[in-house]
């Protein structure tokens, strides 16, 4: 560092001003939307802290103070204290299990005075920092199984606590780290199966077990056939004999045992037995691809029942939301939020009904209109112009964060920026997706826009750490010019 640098006011030197502008625009946009969603024209004291918008404004002020503090701090503290911060975050999460308050079925909140804080919001920062710290170790490699397990353990611990809190939505945010891991060079062979399993998990809700099993067998045999180009006929014979054998066995069992024989069990048993033959065949012919396919099939068939187990452990309202989203059951109560939100957004048109004029918002017909469904308020009152603006602001902000990550000199900073971008992307996708019926309803706020002090505060800290890391990198670039 130069003497000139040390003596100057460091605060905004090197900070990405575009990102700051986007941040300010998003938070003010959010505050305006919250004001519209919670303003009551008959109120006597419009500036009282009883109002949501005043609370939010107060939190926004606090957030800016926190942001300045973070910019004043040396960015290396995050690297140094990463694991302490992580430990503190885990402690905070654990504390909710003991002293937490339950909101919407999730015991994920701590009440302090008149405010409620969701420790998960802050724990996400800690997890991101710790992840970045771990991945920036010199010897760390995503190609090493041991390192992968360490990383998995780091992520699974808070995820497990989130599941215990019954706050699966927040826990799933950690799944978005896959995005960051891909950037960091995670092997395609891991990315693809994870995505495949996720797809399977969702499909297992929709399809009956037998259908799913038949689909799996067909898909895997087809892929085996495609790998071993000259074995088409063999694969066909395999599939045909498999189904023939299973049907025959099923009929025999029906006659012999009588009731209680399911075709699913028969087909599954025959298939597993046939796998032994397939493995022996692969060993003899030295067909390594077949091992992979057999292993994948084995894992997939194991996962199918787990989805049922996981599902049965969900709370009833979560089950309903998922079923309603997948179109399995039509539950008016579960569809209500989404329908009203879609009506509000759809009725906005191009220019909207005007600020403070949204009828569905004003009359409180959209539930959670200032928190999770703030997007519907914007959509109704400001129309497509408003929703497009907010979406473009968010997209620009996320891309900006990714750009910051990519221009980092240190792995720590890059991983951290991508973590933040992943978290934001996940939040935006789930939150806006649910307001327009693309995603199931999960209690996940829209970053910077939704009402919620702890959320805004935590997101501010999260992104300003990234800004701070970016600023220190840029200050050290030889091409950087002081302004």
């Amino acid at each position: 560092m130069t003497a000139r640098d040390r003596n100057s006011v460091r605060l905004f030197v090197g900070v990405d001003r575009v990102a700051i502008l986007l941040y300010v625009a998003l938070t003010l946009f959010g505050l305006a939307a919250i004001f519209s969603a919670s303003w009551n024209e008959t109120s006597d004291a419009p500036l009282s802290l009883d109002h949501n918008y005043m609370k939010q404004a107060m939190w926004l002020g606090l957030s800016w103070v926190a942001a300045i503090v973070i910019l004043l701090l040396d960015s290396s503290v995050w690297h140094k204290f990463a694991y302490y911060i992580y430990g503190f975050g885990i402690l905070a999460l654990l504390s909710t299990l003991a002293i937490g308050t339950t909101v919407n079925g999730a015991k994920a909140w701590i009440a302090i005075g008149g405010f409620r804080i969701q420790p998960m919001e802050f724990a996400k920062i800690a997890i991101a920092i710790a992840t970045a710290r771990m991945m920036s170790e010199y010897s760390f490699s995503l190609g090493k199984i041991g390192d992968l397990f360490r990383l998995a353990a780091l992520l699974m611990l808070p995820l497990g606590i989130a599941v215990l809190q019954n706050d699966l939505g927040s826990g799933l945010v950690l799944g978005s780290f896959l995005f960051m891991l891909y950037r960091e060079g995670l092997n395609n062979w891991i990315c693809v199966p994870i995505l495949f399993i996720a797809t399977l998990f969702i499909l297992s809700f929709v399809l009956t077990p037998v259908t799913l099993l038949v689909a799996l067998i067909t898909v895997f045999t087809l892929s085996a056939a495609m790998m071993m180009r000259d074995k088409w006929l063999l694969c066909l014979k395999y599939v045909a004999s498999l189904f023939l054998a299973s049907i025959l066995l099923y009929l025999v069992l029906c006659v012999a045992v009588g009731e209680g024989v399911s075709y699913y069990a028969t087909l599954f048993g025959v298939t597993l037995a046939s796998l032994v033959a397939v493995v022996v065949y692969a060993f003899r012919k030295s067909l390594r691809q077949l091992y992979v396919i057999v292993a994948l099939f084995f894992v997939s068939s194991m996962i199918m029942p787990t989805s049922d187990i996981v599902f049965s452990h969900l709370k009833e309202h979560q089950q309903k939301r998922i079923q309603s989203f997948l179109g399995l059951v039509s539950d008016p109560a579960a569809d209500y939020n989404v329908n009203k939100s879609k009506e509000a957004i759809g009725s906005g048109g191009l220019l909207g009904k005007g600020y403070l004029q949204g009828a569905l918002t004003r009359y409180r017909l959209v539930p959670e209109r200032h928190t999770d469904f703030i997007f519907s308020t914007i959509g109704e009152e400001l129309g497509f112009v408003g929703t497009l603006t907010i979406l473009l602001l968010l997209a620009a902000f996320i891309l900006r964060l990714m750009r910051m990550g990519d221009r980092q000199q240190e792995t720590f900073g890059r991983v951290y920026c991508y973590c933040v971008a992943s978290i934001l992307l996940f939040h935006v996708l789930i939150n806006i997706g649910m307001t327009i019926g693309l995603m199931p309803v999960m209690g996940i706020p829209l970053p910077f826009v939704s009402y919620g002090g702890s959320s805004l505060f935590a997101f501010t800290i999260m992104v300003f750490i990234a800004f701070s890391l970016d600023a220190s990198t840029r200050r050290e670039l030889p091409t950087y010019r002081y302004i």
Partner: protein, 610 residues
């Protein structure tokens, strides 16, 4: 590896992914907001409703500008469940104010709970005081909406004015498309007859359910208030006539001969029209409906009373016109008319007598001769053909058919035609068979309105204007053309003077109705005592005054009132005096009328109790 220290694709693919995700979101939002118009109307369904705005109903004045019917404000109590306090409300006080029963209040609140965001009706017809009491309680979620209902300041003319009630399913099916469920419609009398003028035109607004004030309403049609109507009724006279008729069953109808305007139309017993307004409407209506004296039956226009001797006027006129009677024809009468086995009785009077005295003293025999002369006129070949001619004459006086007044539900009375007698007497009948028609008995039936019209026709010497109850309608220069047309009878004007003289003589010289005499007013009249096999005779009287340029023609009919002179004459005379002189010089006569007991009326009540 590039400048950022990573694989090229590992940088590009995440960015592409971000762009794809936002692209999908933007496309979806754009589709919802710009292309799919379904949600716009769905969103509107949440909070917008078409609400009918009811115009205030037109008011009704009497001929002197006094209010007969006013619109008064009342309030409906509405509840929005969502805004009501969760801790509950002071139910006892609420019941006290609204007059509801607990089960009904519970039911109303249950309904409100089922649609918690909308205002639901809790209680109807709250008075201004009750509304203020509610305002004082200041319960959140409860509010009142103003409405207008009818009010009758003089509490007269229940049957005449009719009432306004919710439209029934049956009426809805038959009525025009204007009406909808829950609309109010005039059900009887004037309210029904001038429904289209009085109701105004409904307005329509697009109402914002959640905006409690009406400022947010989008007006589609403005409601047009109903037109006010000036009635031909003289409220003071009507009240007086109803007062006189109290305790009697019958009707008083008075007409201004020069215009056909109905001055009084009192049917007795009557009811307080205010009873059929508001919360107690249903109960009061049923009570009146079950009253054995049928107060809801408008006797003035719907009954079929035998006209009795008043009908002799018509027969005399027909005889004169046909030339079978001359004013100086004299017939003898010795306690009645005898021909073979037929005997029509009469009272003591000098004999023989000419036409004007026969009218004055109401000689039965004289008119039996006249009637036979009409029907046995050789000119027509047979009695039956002559009877057809007689029927035509009678109908030209307005009997046996509707007068086409503006009063809905007007009865036609009854004049038997030739076919009727052919059937009854197997085609074998002659003038003697139907002789009782000569003195207004037999099958004849007429409404008091027709009798009053007869008086007006004679007063006008041969023509009448169709009686009507409306003088003018706000915003209209004239009424229907039929009310301005002179309707001539088939009897020439020159024949009337003799009859008028007879009527004058009956009142002023030596007749049956000298009780109707008013000094200086030349009252003319004809009594009737309709014989009645089921009890005492009906008392009736038709009259007009003064003899020249008559101002009022009146018919009074009192069921079981005895002689015409005993009940109908004093009532008619008092009403005439009141109308002509604005004063009553015979208070003892008023007392007499009011205190007159008609014993037969107990039979009405007994009949019902069986």
């Amino acid at each position: 590896m590039n400048e950022y220290g990573g694989n090229r694709w590992r940088i590009i693919i995440p960015r592409l992914l971000v762009l794809i995700i936002f692209g999908v979101l933007i496309l979806r939002v754009g589709y919802l907001q710009l292309i799919d118009s379904r949600y716009e109307s769905l969103a509107g369904d949440n909070y917008l409703r078409y609400v009918v705005k009811y115009p205030p109903r037109g008011e009704v004045f009497d001929r002197n500008g006094e209010y007969l019917v006013q619109s008064k404000i009342c309030y409906d109590l509405m509840a929005v469940w969502r805004d009501m306090p969760r801790s509950g409300v002071d139910t006892l006080r609420l019941l006290d104010i609204t007059g509801l029963t607990l089960p009904r209040l519970k039911n109303a609140l249950y309904e409100a709970r089922r649609s918690p965001r909308q205002g639901r009706l809790v209680a109807k017809y709250l008075s201004a005081e009750e509304k203020l009491q509610l305002d004082e309680l200041n319960i959140p979620g409860l509010y009142t909406v103003p409405r207008t209902v009818r009010q009758y300041p003089r509490k007269i003319g229940g049957n005449l004015l009719g009432s306004v009630g919710e439209i029934t399913d049956k009426m809805l099916k038959n009525s025009s498309e204007y009406y909808g469920i829950g609309d109010y419609i005039g059900t009887e009398g004037l309210e029904a007859a001038y429904e289209e003028e009085l109701r105004g035109v409904k307005g329509l607004v697009l109402h914002d359910l959640y905006a409690r004030d009406e400022a947010h309403d989008q007006i589609i049609n403005h409601p047009q208030p109903g037109k006010s109507i000036v009635c031909t009724i003289d409220a003071r006279l009507q009240a007086f006539a109803e007062d006189l008729m109290r305790g009697k069953v019958g009707a008083v109808v008075a007409i201004e001969p020069a215009t056909g305007e109905i001055l009084v139309m009192a049917s007795s017993p009557t009811f307080d029209p205010d009873e059929l307004v508001g919360r107690e409407r249903g109960n009061n209506y049923m009570r009146n409906l079950n009253n054995p004296r049928h107060p809801l039956f408008n006797r003035s226009v719907k009954s079929k009373y035998p006209p009795g001797s008043t009908f002799k006027l018509v027969n005399g006129l027909i005889g004169l016109q046909e030339g079978v009677l001359k004013p100086n024809y004299r017939y003898s009468c010795h306690n009645g008319y005898d021909y073979g086995k037929i005997h029509v009785g009469c009272h003591e009077h000098s004999s023989p007598l000419n036409l004007d005295y026969a009218i004055a003293t109401s000689c039965n025999a004289y008119f039996c001769y006249v009637f036979r002369n009409i029907l046995e006129n050789k000119k027509y070949g047979s009695v039956k053909d002559a009877y057809d001619v007689w029927c035509e004459y009678v109908e030209s006086f307005g009997f046996g058919r509707k007068l086409e007044s503006d009063f809905l539900g007007e009865g036609r009375g009854y004049v038997p035609d030739r076919a009727f007698y052919d059937k009854r007497y197997h085609k074998s009948w002659n003038a003697l068979t139907v002789l009782s028609l000569s003195i207004g008995q037999g099958e004849l039936g007429c409404t008091p309105l027709q009798l009053a019209n007869l008086a007006a026709t004679i007063a006008n010497r041969g023509y009448y204007y169709i009686p009507h109850i409306v003088r003018s309608i706000e915003g209209q220069d004239s009424l229907d053309a039929r009310f301005y047309r002179k309707n001539y009878t088939k009897v020439d004007a020159r024949h009337f003077e003799t009859i008028v003289h007879g009527m004058w003589r009956g009142v002023n010289v030596d007749g049956t109705c000298q009780g109707a005499k008013l000094d200086g007013w030349d009252v003319c009249g004809k009594t009737g005592t309709a014989q009645n096999p089921r009890g005492e005779d009906h008392s009736t009287f038709v009259s007009f005054a003064p003899r020249n340029n008559p101002k009022i023609a009146i018919a009074v009919y009192v069921e079981h009132g005895g002689f015409g002179a005993s009940m109908a004459v004093p009532i008619a005379s008092l009403v005439e005096e009141m109308y002509l002189t604005d004063s009553i010089t015979r208070p003892w006569l008023v007392d007499y009328v009011k205190q007159k007991q008609i014993n037969y009326y107990n039979a009405y009540d007994r009949k019902r109790q069986k």
